[in-house]
Symmetry: C2
Subunit: 368 residues, 2 copies
Amino acid sequence: HTSYPVAVIPGDGIGPELVEAALSVLAAVGSRHGFSLSTTTVDGGAAAYLRDGVPMTPEAIEVVRRSAATLKGPVGLPEVRLPDGTEAGLLGGVLRNGLDLWANVRPIKLLPGIESRVRAEPGDIDYVIVRENTEGLYLARGRGVGNERAMTDTLLVTRHGCERIARYAFELAARRSGAPADGGHRVTLVDKANVLRSMFFFREVFLEVAAQYPDIEAECLYVDAAAQALVMRPEHFDVIVTENLFGDILSDLGGGTVGGIAMCPSGNVGGALRGDPARRSSHPADPAYFEPIHGSAPAIAGRGLANPLSQILAAAMMLDHLGERAGGDDIRDATSAALAAGDIQIRRDGSAIGGPDAVSRAVVAHLR
Amino acid sequence: HTSYPVAVIPGDGIGPELVEAALSVLAAVGSRHGFSLSTTTVDGGAAAYLRDGVPMTPEAIEVVRRSAATLKGPVGLPEVRLPDGTEAGLLGGVLRNGLDLWANVRPIKLLPGIESRVRAEPGDIDYVIVRENTEGLYLARGRGVGNERAMTDTLLVTRHGCERIARYAFELAARRSGAPADGGHRVTLVDKANVLRSMFFFREVFLEVAAQYPDIEAECLYVDAAAQALVMRPEHFDVIVTENLFGDILSDLGGGTVGGIAMCPSGNVGGALRGDPARRSSHPADPAYFEPIHGSAPAIAGRGLANPLSQILAAAMMLDHLGERAGGDDIRDATSAALAAGDIQIRRDGSAIGGPDAVSRAVVAHLR
Ligand SMILES: CC(C)[C@H](C(=O)O)[C@@H](O)C(=O)O
Ligand SMILES: CC(C)[C@H](C(=O)O)[C@@H](O)C(=O)O
């Protein structure tokens, strides 16, 4: 029996109810697989900012740093802003940059029983976006400069940053099961190399890394063409790697094709993970956190509407990270089975019939 | 009988065949409405760059500047690059910035007979993206700085730039016919105000302008949420206004929902147009150019595959600009009628059965 030290950040808005649903699924999976999570709950987000003056205290960050993994709910409230207008309750700065979690891994998959707005069958849409998580346009986060007449933000890419994220994408493609219908494994770089020098630089580094993976197809696509292609031929994609803000946009776009971002989990990883993706974490371990790709939707909090699948699937990714891949697979299989059986029903707007409670119970009922 | 001085830039790849198709439609419409175009053809793009060392000569630019309007085919060839890697044969720098054509107007409309990958009926998708066309991240075009270790590009927004583009969007919403099913006319600002100070600045200026248009709903959406929404609830949108690169991405995404960007025209306008959109141009007039939103697709050039509807619909926008709105409407009506009758058939990949020739003949046959 293994016990993993796991940090939990319930977050704002619908965060706490999503996290509660995911933890109940994790407990059920753990008891089947002979592990448990020793959780430490810490505050982070907009409510924490209002109380503490920072979105997360140094002590709370330290808990995340020392945990084998962290499960995080969505954070932020639109009205909680810094004087410069950007949101005060976000954790990207302290967690993504602060812990150098440079890879944001975002699987986009159409599950059974989901009525996608895009004409597609389950199996047609199944790719992963690897979003660079520490630089690009996000490095400007709150650092823009200007006056009342003009304002600038800076997009920065480094060779080091491009190299490690490109390598991560190829390693991921190499170990993915299945492959797109129109070929073998493939990594697509999404850039804007025709207009931006920084993006051409990214492309050059990407192609250098690609040369080290001769068995995997490397392709480059401009971001505008990619946006069209994710709607018109999503079957084509396997692994997509891209700049931070492009990854933000494209992953929500991808979410729109699989029933909504409420279906979409993500992992913020980096460091030693790179070399050994199947590593069985022991503590102290490399930090990583797992969260939905969407926001905290305060308007629907507590109303029995929120869809916790993004959070439950993020919990599955967390188990993969902990080395409990069988547990992660069980969650994914049970989710698909419950959706296919109609025991989980997602409305067209992405909300769930019965809310987080009904959904987590249905997933647990379908665990084998 | 009026004769309009019009510049024509055939462009690269499929450009010349598209432009030829559009000119044949324009000639037919002109003879019905008692006007003609006195065209001057000028070179511009990648082939021009290879010959002249510049994508467009000062003399050619002067022709565009003095014409009542310009019809431009797609330009650029991926292999024709500057030493910094960005494309050498693009005209955005010389035409959009050079002539201060600060508004890029991109209607996204699902036409009859088009099998969209998104579940939608004609009428469901009908909005206009107003893309700021002279600043944002594009101002960095080829000006990024760095070395072999890192590279930066700058996103700049000015109060002046935000103000005029926001005003354009509200003026456009005020005169649009029809309105979204879920309300009256609406302008949606797409930004990333939660993370980027420049985008919060844009939002502030937008809201100042919005206050002057109390009859039009003003809404703000983060770019990631907007990318999802354009797939999941395109019916919601009326007029969208946004930063240059966001507009580039979102318009191709929108194109993906209406059968492909080969269906999508655009106008690059500005200057005096703003005050008087229905102005009847006389020469010399304020310059403006009209073009497809897609690239030059050299791989299919001359193969009878290209779909010229983007170019034909761009020609219709050009007629609106010239004050020949009845002619513009005739082109749009004939296009819809020909599609509805099955006389134009667009393949799922966006290409046209019979190529530019068959399509332009079908449009002419359906002119009333
Ligand atoms: C909340 C927001 C700052 C965040 C981002 O833009 O990165 C979110 O959209 C995400 O994708 O994780
Ligand atoms: C060709 C390219 C530079 C151009 C752009 O990015 O603006 C095109 O995509 C467009 O949208 O007009």
